[in-house]
């Protein structure tokens, strides 16, 4: 047990924690309470260590507080939590599950209109909500052609009055377009193999 009640030290600690609570007024209440509690526990542990070696007076407490740093700096570090990736980019790997998702998106775009009715629409939703592709790729995937290969099926039906060469060209374009775009989408999706540096460290193109 400590030999005497260290009033000066107690006052320093109380001032510090008050400053911390005041600086943390802008944080959410639970965050603020957590921070104040953690810091006061830390200070108590540090003082306990000092007391066990026989030093628990004012100056030693001031050392502990100085090492902790200014409460405003601690709160600023907590406030930066608003954009955690700014401080701590979490590596985003191209996991096998992600690749299956990307492949599924492209397949739906290609043949979803034919086989699964509104499958093409689902493919478009998955395309636009995916972080894998640039906007230009996404536009290509949506506009070339709407409905994917299913659009080609409409050509014989609506093109009965057209000259055969034209119908043939439309059919070719109707097939080649989606397949070429699908190939491009897949190539771009798979260009970041696992193990490469985290994609988020670079600005999104």
């Amino acid at each position: 047990m400590s030999s005497g009640y260290d009033i000066a030290g107690e006052r320093l600690v109380a001032e510090y924690l008050n400053r911390l609570a005041a600086a943390a007024a802008s944080l959410p209440a639970d965050r603020r309470a957590e921070l104040v509690e953690e810091l006061s526990v830390h200070i108590a542990e540090a003082r306990a260590v000092q007391a066990s070696v026989g030093a628990g007076t004012g100056p030693a407490v001031a050392d502990v507080l100085e090492r902790l740093g200014r409460p405003e700096d601690i709160v600023r570090a907590a406030a930066e939590d608003a954009d955690p990736d700014a401080i701590m980019p979490v590596p985003v790997r191209c996991a096998p599950r992600r690749r299956a998702l990307d492949t599924g998106t492209v397949v739906l775009l290609l043949i979803g209109g034919v086989l699964v009715g509104l499958g093409w629409v689902a493919g478009v939703v998955m395309l636009w909500t995916s972080p894998r592709w640039r906007t230009s790729d996404k536009l290509l995937g949506t506009l070339v052609w709407p409905g994917g290969l299913a659009a080609m099926l409409a050509i014989p039906r609506f093109g009965t009055g057209l000259p055969p060469p034209l119908v043939l060209s439309l059919l070719l374009a109707g097939v080649a377009g989606p397949i070429l775009v699908a190939t491009r989408l897949l190539r771009h999706a798979w260009r970041t193999p696992p193990g490469r540096p985290p994609a988020r460290l670079a600005p999104e193109s």
Partner: protein, 122 residues
């Protein structure tokens, strides 16, 4: 690129230290779980981390919210229960990836610094 002024390197080092600090914390938890005070004490060994160690607490909170570390409460004989931090699986993966990236970067920068001036292009 801005003109580099002597002394700016110090600011750059501070930024780099700030960037690797989360991964240093993960590395400290690799072998065993620790509580806040222990981690702060160990952090003092990192070059330059002399003051401002209090910022590790918001950092630990962030790592927990990101699912990279987990916390448990354990009874302590010397006082109130302590909050222990340990590496979660996601944290192990993040640390492994960082280690790989860091070693690659470190080696290439070291090579560059060591060889510059030795093989002039004339």
């Amino acid at each position: 690129m801005r003109c580099m002024v002597a002394g700016e390197a110090g600011n750059l080092v501070a930024q780099m230290r700030r960037g690797v600090l989360p991964y240093c914390v993960l590395a400290m938890l690799r072998d065993k779980e620790q509580y806040g005070f222990e981690l702060v004490h160990a952090l003092g060994g990192i070059d330059g981390m002399v003051t401002g160690v209090g910022t590790i607490y918001p950092l630990l909170g962030r790592l927990r919210r990101q699912g990279l570390v987990e916390t448990t409460w354990q009874e302590s004989t010397t006082g109130p229960p302590r909050k222990y931090y340990r590496l979660a699986e996601a944290g192990q993966e993040a640390l492994a990836e960082f280690t790989e990236s860091w070693e690659r970067l470190r080696d290439s920068v070291d090579d560059l610094l060591a060889s510059s001036g030795r093989d002039p292009i004339t």
